[in-house]
C-alpha cells in the first residue's frame, strides 16, 4: 500500500515512513476499512498466555487483521505482578511509539494499589475501554445457602465463618467481596477471602465446596450454570441478565454494581495525530462485524468507551478500587510476623553451617583439592556479562554471538575462526527461529534498521 512496504523494508522507528503513513492515515480515516490503517501494530498483553488480557490481545489481533485494519498485528506478552511490570515497561521504553498498544483493565488498578506501583494507568494515554464481564456470586448446588439472603445473614452473624473463594488477592473478585461487605455493613477487613492464583484453581475450589461461596467472572461459570452444577446467588450487573436465573445484587438490597472491564492504552509522548490514528483504528475495529462476532463467542460485553470519557471513568474506578483495597487491608500490614519464613531462614542457616563443617572435615581427612581452571570460568563469566549488557543496545544477534564465541573459547584454544563462524550462524539462526517462525520479537538494537 505504501512505498515503504513495496520496497520490502519493515519499518518501525523511521520518522520519514511514519510521516508518510500519517498522511495516509488521514486519507483512509474518511473511508475506514477500505485500506489498512497500520502496516504493523504491536499489542502488548501484560500477562502470560492464557489469561484474560492475553485473550483480549489475541482476539483484537484477529479482529484487526480480518477487518483489514492492521496488516500485521503482533501480540507480545510481558507478564508479571498483576500487569504492573508490563505497564512500567510500556510507559518507560515505548515512550513516543505510535504503533503499540497495551491491554489493561480493572485488575491492573488493583495491582497498582497492592504492589504500590510508582507507575499508574494515568501515566499512559487512554484510548478506549473495550469489554466488560459481570461477576457472579455462586455456590455448588449442594450448598446450604439457597439465596443471597441466606448467605448474607450468615455473613453478618459471623463474618469470618464465610470463606469467599476467587482469583488473586487485589483482583476483581476480592474487590467485589469487599464492596459487598461494605454495602451490608460488615467491615471489609473481616472478609475471609481465599485467593487462588489461576481461574481454574479457584473454579475447582468453588465447585468442590472447599469455600463457602465463590466469586468469578460470569462467563467462567457459564458451563456450570448450563449444567446445573452451581447456583448463582447474585450477579453484579445493574439489570437482570438474559439466560441467567439470578437476581442482581442491587435488587436484593446490596447497593453494588460492578464489572471487570478491559481497556487499551497508548504510550506517553505520542503526538495528537498518532493518538487520533490509534483511536481511529480501534474505532474501526469495534464497529467491525469480526469484532462483534468474536465478542459473542467469548461471551464478553461490548463496553466501548473512547478517549477522555474513558479517562474520566478509569480515574473514578481507580479511586473506588484504592478505597476498597485500603479497607480490605490488602496493602496495609507490612512486616508482620511470618513464622514460616523464619523457619525456612533458620533451617537454611543451620544446614548451611552443617554442610560447611562437613565439607571442611572431608577436606581435612582427604585433602584432594579439586583443581579448577579459572581462565575458562572467567571467559564464560565475561561472555554472560557482555551478553546481558549488549543485548539491549547492540541487539540479540551481536550479544549471542559474543556469548557463544567466548564460551567456545573457554573449551577450546585451537579454532577461533571456526568458533566465530558457528557463533554467528547459531545466533542469526536462533534469531530467525524466534523472531520469524515463533513470532517472538527479540531486541534488535543497532541492527534494528536492517531486520
Amino acid at each position: 500500500m505504501c512505498a515503504a512496504s513495496e520496497g520490502g523494508i519493515v519499518i518501525r522507528r523511521s520518522n520519514v515512513v511514519r510521516a508518510s503513513l500519517l498522511a495516509l492515515a488521514t486519507l483512509t480515516a474518511s473511508n475506514a476499512g477500505a485500506q489498512p490503517h497500520f502496516e504493523e501494530l504491536r499489542l502488548i498483553a501484560p500477562a502470560a498466555p492464557g489469561g484474560g488480557w492475553d485473550q483480549t490481545a489475541r482476539v483484537m489481533q484477529q479482529a484487526l487483521q480480518r477487518a483489514g485494519i492492521v496488516t500485521t498485528p503482533i501480540v507480545e506478552n510481558v507478564p508479571g505482578a498483576a500487569g504492573t511490570i508490563g505497564l512500567a515497561r510500556f510507559v518507560g521504553s515505548e515512550r513516543g511509539n505510535g504503533d503499540v498498544l497495551l491491554v489493561s483493565g480493572l485488575i491492573m488498578l488493583g495491582g497498582i494499589v497492592t504492589n504500590e506501583s510508582p507507575v499508574t494507568l494515568a501515566d499512559a494515554v487512554p484510548i478506549a475501554r473495550l469489554t466488560g464481564e459481570y461477576e457472579a456470586l455462586a455456590v455448588p448446588v449442594a450448598s446450604p445457602f439457597r439465596t443471597l439472603e441466606d448467605l448474607l445473614a450468615a455473613f453478618k452473624a459471623d463474618p469470618e465463618s464465610i470463606s469467599w473463594g476467587g482469583g488473586s488477592v487485589g483482583g476483581s473478585d476480592q474487590i467485589l467481596a469487599g464492596l459487598v461487605a461494605a454495602a451490608v455493613g460488615v467491615e471489609p477487613r473481616r472478609v475471609n477471602y481465599i485467593g487462588y492464583s489461576g481461574g481454574g484453581e479457584a473454579l475447582a475450589a468453588i465447585l468442590g465446596g472447599q469455600v463457602s461461596v465463590g466469586i468469578n467472572g460470569l462467563a467462567e461459570f457459564a458451563a456450570q450454570i448450563d449444567a446445573g452444577a452451581v447456583r448463582v446467588l447474585a450477579v453484579s450487573s445493574a439489570e437482570r441478565l438474559p439466560g441467567v436465573d439470578a437476581p442482581t445484587l442491587r435488587e436484593r438490597g446490596v447497593d453494588v454494581e460492578f464489572e471487570n472491564w478491559r481497556s487499551i492504552v497508548a504510550p506517553p509522548g505520542i503526538t495528537a495525530e498518532e493518538r487520533a490514528r490509534l483511536a481511529a483504528a480501534i474505532d474501526a475495529m469495534v464497529r467491525s462485524s469480526e469484532w462483534r462476532d468474536l465478542l459473542a463467542r467469548y461471551r464478553w460485553l461490548d463496553r466501548y468507551l473512547a478517549g477522555d470519557e474513558f479517562a474520566t471513568f478509569a480515574a473514578a474506578e481507580e479511586r473506588r478500587v484504592r478505597a476498597i483495597l485500603r479497607e480490605l487491608g490488602a496493602s496495609s500490614t507490612r512486616g508482620a510476623a511470618d513464622p514460616y519464613a523464619a523457619f525456612v531462614l533458620a533451617g537454611l542457616l543451620l544446614f548451611g553451617v552443617a554442610a560447611a563443617v562437613a565439607v571442611r572435615r572431608e577436606r581435612q581427612v582427604a585433602p584432594t583439592r579439586v583443581a579448577l581452571a579459572w581462565r575458562p570460568l572467567a571467559l564464560i563469566g565475561a561472555g554472560a556479562a557482555l551478553h546481558v549488557l549488549l543485548a539491549e543496545s547492540l541487539g540479540f544477534i551481536v550479544a549471542a554471538t559474543v556469548l557463544f564465541w567466548l564460551v567456545a573459547r573457554a573449551f577450546d584454544t585451537r579454532h577461533p575462526t571456526r568458533d566465530a563462524v558457528c557463533a554467528l550462524g547459531v545466533a542469526a539462526g536462533s534469531y530467525a527461529l524466534f523472531a520469524y517462525a515463533l513470532q517472538l520479537p527479540l531486541p534488535t538494537g543497532a541492527l534494528g534498521a536492517w531486520l
Partner: protein, 497 residues
C-alpha cells in the same frame, strides 16, 4: 454413544489424510518446542490460535493435541543428552537419563523415554475416555488440606534424593525453600524478600532455577575441570537402541509411572513435578538395585517419563468435564474451544460426544505419530553428544539465554540465570545435590499456601488435616515413607546380630 462406538466414530472422523497431516505438523512442532528450553506448549498454541481460525475444529484440535503431547516428548531429549531440562516435568528424567547418556546409553534412554511416553499417553488417553466424569468428581474432593498433605508426601519422598550427605542435601532443600519465599504472598498480597525489585514480585521462576542450576552450572563445571572425561561411544547394536535387559527393566516402570501420573494430573493443581518425582521415588524404592540410581538406572528414566505424559493427559480431565483449566496450556485450549463456540464443562460429553470422541481418537493418533517420529530420531539426537564441546556448550548457553528471555521478555531474568548458574557450579564443586533445591522451590510455596488456606477456611482449626479422610490418609502415607526404610533397615540388620 458407547465407548467402542464412540472410539470407532472418532477414528472414522479423525483418520483422514488432511487430519493426519495436521497431526504430523502438530507433533513435529510440539517436539521441536519441547526441545527448546523455556518455550512451552502454552505459548505455541497461543501463537497458532489465530492461524487456525479458518480450520474446522477437528483439524485444529488434532494439531493442538499433537503440540501438547509432543512438547512432553521433546522435553526429555535435552534432559538426557545435555543435562538441561527445559521443562519442570523433565527434571527427574535428567538425573539418571544424563548419566546413561554419558555411559554411552543415550539412545537407550531416549528410546525408553519415547516408548514410556507412548505407553503412558495411550493408556491415559483411554482412561480419559472411559472414566473422565467420575474422576473429575473425585478431584473436586481435594481441598487445601489435601493439597497440603500431598505436598508433605512429596517432601517425604524427597528424602530419598538428598544424597549421601544429609547436611548437604538438607541445605540444598532449604535453599530452594528460601528462594520460594521471594515474591507476593498469595494469601495476603504482601511482597516478601523482593527487595523492591518489581520483577521479583511474582517469585523466582522455577524454569530459571532449573536451567541455571543444570545447563549453566554444568557448562561451567565442564569448562573448569582440567581433565575432561570423555563420553563413552554409543552402542547401537541392540533392538531399537535398547538391550533385552533394558526392555525387561523398562516395562513395569512405564505402567507404574502411568498409574502415578494420570490421577495426579487429574487434580487441578497443575505442574508435573510431583508426579514425576513420586514416580522416581517409587522406582528407586522398588528397585532391586537402588544403588544404581543416580548413576544411570533406566527405571529412573522410564518411570518419570511415563508419569509426565500420563499427567499431561490427566490435565484434560478437569478441562473437558468441568471446564477447569489447571495449566497455562489448558487455559489456552479452553480459549480455543471458545473460539469455536464450544464450552467445555459437565455437558460437553453429552451434548458434543462427536467432538469428544474425535479429540480422543486424534490424541491417540498423535501419540502413534510421535512414536514414529521420535524412535528413529533417538539415534540421531544421541549423536549430539559428539559435537565438539566448544560448539555444543556455546549452543546450550545461547539457547538457555533465549529460552529464559522469552519467559518474561526480561534481561534481568537472563542475569538471574547466570547468577543461578554460578550457584549451581559452586554446589557441584562442593558436592551439594541440585535436585532438592528445585523441589524446595516448587513444593515449599505449595505447602505453605495450602496450609494457610486450609487454616483460614477452618478459622484456625488445625484438626482439619486429621479429620478430613483423604488428608489424613496422605499424611499417614508420608509418615510411612519416612519411617518404613528405618524399620526395614533394622529388620535386615537384626539377623546378623
Amino acid at each position: 454413544m458407547g465407548t467402542l462406538d464412540g472410539l470407532a466414530y472418532g477414528f472414522a472422523n479423525a483418520l483422514t489424510l488432511p487430519n493426519l497431516l495436521w497431526a504430523l505438523l502438530g507433533t513435529t512442532l510440539g517436539t521441536a518446542i519441547g526441545v527448546l528450553p523455556g518455550i512451552g506448549p502454552a505459548l505455541t498454541v497461543a501463537v497458532l490460535l489465530p492461524v487456525t481460525f479458518g480450520l474446522d475444529p477437528v483439524s485444529a484440535f488434532i494439531m493442538f493435541g499433537g503440540i501438547y503431547y509432543g512438547a512432553m516428548y521433546g522435553g526429555s531429549t535435552t534432559s538426557i543428552l545435555l543435562n538441561t531440562p527445559g521443562e519442570t516435568g523433565a527434571i527427574a528424567t535428567a538425573i539418571d537419563g544424563h548419566q546413561m547418556a554419558r555411559n554411552g546409553r543415550g539412545a537407550a534412554a531416549l528410546t525408553t523415554a519415547a516408548l514410556g511416553s507412548f505407553v503412558a499417553g495411550t493408556i491415559a488417553t483411554l482412561a480419559l475416555a472411559l472414566f473422565a466424569p467420575a474422576l473429575a468428581s473425585v478431584a473436586l474432593e481435594f481441598g487445601p488440606a489435601e493439597y497440603f498433605a500431598l505436598a508433605i508426601v512429596a517432601f517425604a519422598a524427597v528424602t530419598a534424593l538428598l544424597g549421601p550427605s544429609l547436611a548437604r542435601g538438607l541445605f540444598s532443600l532449604f535453599l530452594g525453600l528460601a528462594l520460594g519465599l521471594v515474591g507476593i504472598d498469595q494469601l495476603t498480597g504482601q511482597a516478601r524478600f523482593s527487595f523492591g525489585i518489581p520483577q521479583l514480585l511474582d517469585g523466582i521462576d522455577v524454569v530459571i532455577l532449573v536451567i541455571g542450576l543444570f545447563a549453566v552450572g554444568e557448562t561451567l563445571h565442564q569448562a573448569a575441570r582440567r581433565s575432561r572425561d570423555e563420553t563413552a561411544p554409543v552402542q547401537l547394536t541392540t533392538f531399537m537402541g535398547m538391550s533385552r535387559d533394558e526392555w525387561r527393566r523398562s516395562w513395569k516402570p512405564w505402567l507404574r509411572g502411568t498409574a502415578i501420573g494420570f490421577p495426579l494430573g487429574v487434580l487441578p493443581m497443575g505442574g508435573s513435578v510431583i508426579p514425576t518425582f513420586l514416580s522416581y521415588f517409587a522406582e528407586k524404592r522398588l528397585s532391586a538395585h537402588p544403588d544404581e540410581f543416580g548413576h544411570g538406572a533406566i527405571e529412573g528414566v522410564a518411570g518419570p517419563e511415563a508419569a509426565n505424559n500420563a499427567s499431561t493427559a490427566g490435565v484434560l480431565v478437569p478441562l473437558l468435564t468441568l471446564g477447569v483449566p489447571s495449566s497455562a496450556t489448558a487455559a489456552i485450549l479452553l480459549a480455543a474451544f471458545q473460539q469455536y463456540g464450544l464450552q467445555p464443562g459437565p455437558l460437553l460429553f453429552s451434548t458434543r460426544p462427536d467432538l469428544v470422541w474425535t479429540l480422543i481418537a486424534s490424541l491417540l493418533i498423535g501419540n502413534v505419530m510421535l512414536l514414529v517420529l521420535n524412535l528413529p530420531l533417538a539415534r540421531v539426537w544421541a549423536r549430539v553428544m559428539f559435537l565438539p564441546k566448544p560448539l555444543l556448550f556455546g549452543g546450550v548457553l545461547v539457547l538457555a539465554s533465549l529460552g529464559v528471555y522469552t519467559l518474561n521478555r526480561s534481561l534481568l531474568d537472563v542475569g538471574l540465570l547466570y547468577a543461578v548458574g554460578a550457584l549451581g557450579f559452586a554446589m557441584r564443586v562442593l558436592g551439594i545435590p541440585l535436585v532438592p533445591a528445585v523441589l524446595g522451590l516448587v513444593l515449599g510455596p505449595m505447602a505453605e499456601q495450602q496450609f494457610r488456606r486450609a487454616a483460614a477456611i477452618s478459622e484456625g482449626d488445625l484438626t482439619v488435616f486429621a479429620t478430613r479422610p483423604i488428608s489424613a490418609a496422605l499424611l499417614a502415607a508420608a509418615a510411612l515413607i519416612l519411617i518404613a526404610p528405618l524399620l526395614l533397615k533394622r529388620r535386615r540388620r537384626a539377623p546378623h546380630e
